[in-house]
Symmetry: C2
Subunit: 489 residues, 2 copies
């Protein structure tokens, strides 16, 4: 009956509408009867005027502890070991302490597994059901919202943010895909509402993704999927941020930034395992604020004319890149290597595509116009290509990352299976830097043998080669005349 050009259809419509008995609802002038109009709620009791429906009106800034206080002492790069998310958990603990009524943590059952245990010093897991003596850190007023349903956690957190509070979702990297579709709708909501003037900004939706693809020694292939980054980057650039801090101090700096932000979706990808630390707090802040940068202490292109750029994003790829650089610096000291670490993935995009994007001039200065770039990346390699395909030197960009190879094996074997390990990276450099000729052939054979030693050793011992497990950064920074400050890491 949709076709209103037919008079018979209008009759049907009339009969239908009359079935609501309008004569009881409206007076003779067609006006709603006052006793009925009276029933509607008034003022802030109207659904649309309820301040909880425009949570930004209620939003208060978090009282933030000073993140410097949680810094790991890093007297020199690549010597001290720490668990980045455990350090972050101490910071989060104090955010919970300082903000007892408007900050919560959400996690399927990974608060402890992702090493945020410190939060239980100040609060509990929330449960309003019966609590048994064997339950650990559970109480009805706990502010750690745990339920083994990523959907439930996402829904809770979105509601909490939309009504003017702050929160953090801690999840296993592979399983955050469970909420892909919910994330989509929140991102779409933010995209539309940020252009509605009466809508006040709400706190950002913050994700910590840990228990990463590269360290699934026990869980194996089913727990390996770094693709949430790809998924979020399909949404509007103005509201998406993705960070891959390479160590604990960088993670602290990024976390502080995300907790203060508004109307964004912040995805932080960070390992939880004991790992080498690279930057002291001061360097970490500068590095994370820029979003990417040359690590001068690891580079030997004194004249600023590298033969190869070794780029990395993510903690494990950073380790493998530096280990590759150390081999190169020892075996081929004449190759001038520039090391670039990327924390903020958005810097790679053109400025026209994302507000964090580097200008082409700055990008070219960092990555050169014509030298090979070996990029070791935490996720699927094509994500880096997608971000950089318009850059001058894209044709020389070679990305290593996760290519869906994995099983239950040692941490180092995981990177070997995906060609992201130090030896493959050295090989990639030797394949692309011209003029090495015969010497490269020896080095390539050395690498081949090393990889065979690795396989044999893990088959026999079930753990990685001691030289891999105990590896430390030992390369001395080169002297850079007149640029003392850049030597300081």
């Amino acid at each position: 009956m949709g076709d209103m050009d037919k008079p018979a259809h209008i009759k049907i419509l009339e009969r239908w509408l009359k079935s609501y008995l309008p004569q009881e609802l409206f007076d003779q002038n067609g006006r709603l009867r006052p006793e009925l109009a009276e029933l509607a709620p008034k003022g802030a009791h109207r659904m649309s005027a309820n301040p909880h429906a425009n949570g930004g009106l209620l939003l208060r800034d978090l009282k933030m502890p000073d993140f410097h206080n949680y810094a790991v002492k890093v007297p020199k790069p690549g010597a001290v070991v720490a668990e980045a998310t455990r350090i972050q958990g101490q910071f989060i603990r104090d955010v919970l302490k300082f903000n007892p009524d408007n900050f919560r943590v959400f996690s399927p059952d990974e608060t402890s597994s992702n090493r945020w245990n410190a939060v239980f010093e100040v609060t509990d897991r929330c449960s309003t059901a019966e609590i048994f003596p064997t339950d650990e850190n559970v109480s009805p007023d706990g502010r750690v919202m745990e339920m083994l349903s990523e959907h439930q956690c996402e829904g809770w957190l979105e509601g909490y943010l939309l009504t003017g509070r702050h929160g953090f979702f801690s999840c296993y990297e592979a399983f955050i895909h469970i909420v892909d579709s919910m994330f989509n709708q929140h991102a779409k909501w933010l995209k539309v509402t940020r252009h509605i003037p009466w809508r006040r900004p709400i706190a950002s939706l913050n994700y910590l993704l840990s228990s990463l693809v590269w360290r699934q020694d026990h869980n194996g292939f089913s727990h390996q999927d770094p693709g949430f980054m790809d998924h979020v980057m399909n949404k509007k650039a103005e509201l998406i941020r993705v960070y891959l801090p390479p160590d604990a101090n960088c993670l602290l700096s990024v976390t502080d930034h995300c907790l203060r932000s508004r109307n964004y979706i912040n995805v932080i990808v960070s390992g939880k395992q004991p790992e080498l630390q690279w930057l002291d707090m001061d360097s970490a802040i500068k590095h994370c604020t820029a979003g990417l940068g040359i690590w001068a202490w690891a580079s030997n292109d004194i004249d600023g004319k590298p033969d190869v750029v070794m780029a990395c994003a993510g903690d494990v790829p950073t380790l493998e890149t530096l280990a590759a650089v150390q081999i190169l610096r020892e075996q081929f000291p004449e190759i001038k290597v520039r090391v670039i670490n990327v924390v903020d993935l958005m810097t790679l995009q053109p400025q026209s595509e994302h507000p964090h994007g580097l200008s082409d001039k700055d990008f070219d200065a960092l990555f050169t116009n014509d030298k090979p770039i070996i990029f070791a990346f935490h996720g699927y390699p094509w994500l880096i290509h997608r971000l950089t395909y318009r850059r001058t030197n894209h044709r020389n960009l070679h990305v290593r990352g996760y290519k869906e190879e994995g099983t239950t094996t040692t941490p180092f074997d995981m990177v070997v299976l995906n060609d992201l390990d130090r030896f493959h990276l050295v090989n990639d450099v030797l394949d692309r830097v011209p003029g090495l000729c015969a010497r490269a052939a020896y080095a390539k054979q050395f690498i081949r043998d090393k990889l065979m030693d690795h396989k044999t050793y893990i088959d026999q011992h079930g753990e990685d080669l001691p030289e891999v497990r105990n590896w430390k950064w030992q390369t001395k920074p080169v002297n850079r005349p007149g640029m003392k400050s850049s030597l300081h890491h």
Copy 2:
């Protein structure tokens, strides 16, 4: 107590293991007592030897109706209108009829909405609950599995396939993201098991994604997300297939292919709205078997030296591309345009990355080495860049697609909002084909005015301009001496 170097820990382990009372389970020689061993099931009753745990053993080929019988008559391109998925539904109906015990259809509640209504001529929706007189097409032995939970549908279908049957998931494009994580695990299972020799191949996991991003006239922004393609393409190339048939006959050909395949995940993206039809059945089969090809009847680069390549993938982008070509052919007959339609996205990748990938030689022959390519794509534009960044002519590739702009508006306004409409495409050509100078300025102003007319008209009438709604392909094919067959569409 994990550290077994400490004798006290061994004591704990011993106490724990003894709590299972091994003396009741094993005899003095440490052998399992025969009366207990007797309890274990034998032969095919053992869980791992149950043939349903290796479904490929039970798998029978589908009895396939001849898909030619459902063909739409297309006497010439772009004149006849049909609803592609409704035609597909007639084919699926007969697959259900011919295979009453090993083929089912799964869908949240979109069997009718995605226009597969014909299936209800031969079966019902399945429900074992009480059935009311007002229920339509519901019975306990129905083979249309509907439940408004994408998770449930995906789980049902995976179980059905893993136990040796066949099926098809019909879903709204935007909401298939709900099962991203389940899809991941099925893809990982296929990747691992296809290299286990005793595992027999199972039927492919087939998705129809309809109710597409471009035609959400009533539902709007929340229903717009073509990103499932991006998600699936992160998985191993050997098991992923993505098809964008431009019309009903192509959809029939692709559907037949997918239903016969094994061990793949096939994603078919197809509109359900009345749309112009382009290829007769014979041309459709050839086109879909190749996966992409020049549409000679729409191209005028008689000498094989185009000034511009207009590529398209997906039904709506194909329409807009052809409408743009018609404008160009009328206004700028001297511009030599080559039209390429892509059905099988995998053909765009290098051969080294995917078995369907075109060789570089073939790719360069189609897309040229140096001419501008304007690519109108159904999904997020960077997916095309990610697939083609290693191709010779990538620097000249310009992709239009969905860039997360949308609302409740007319179909044509959706493409305008995302710069994918015929007028923007013409503009893209004028910007990139050299030598048009002053004439291009007039054409660009004509386009600017057209887009303003469009906005004014939809504001006033709530539907698209008549010239857009009633557009038909009317351009005559050019004579190509000595190549008659290529004129036949």
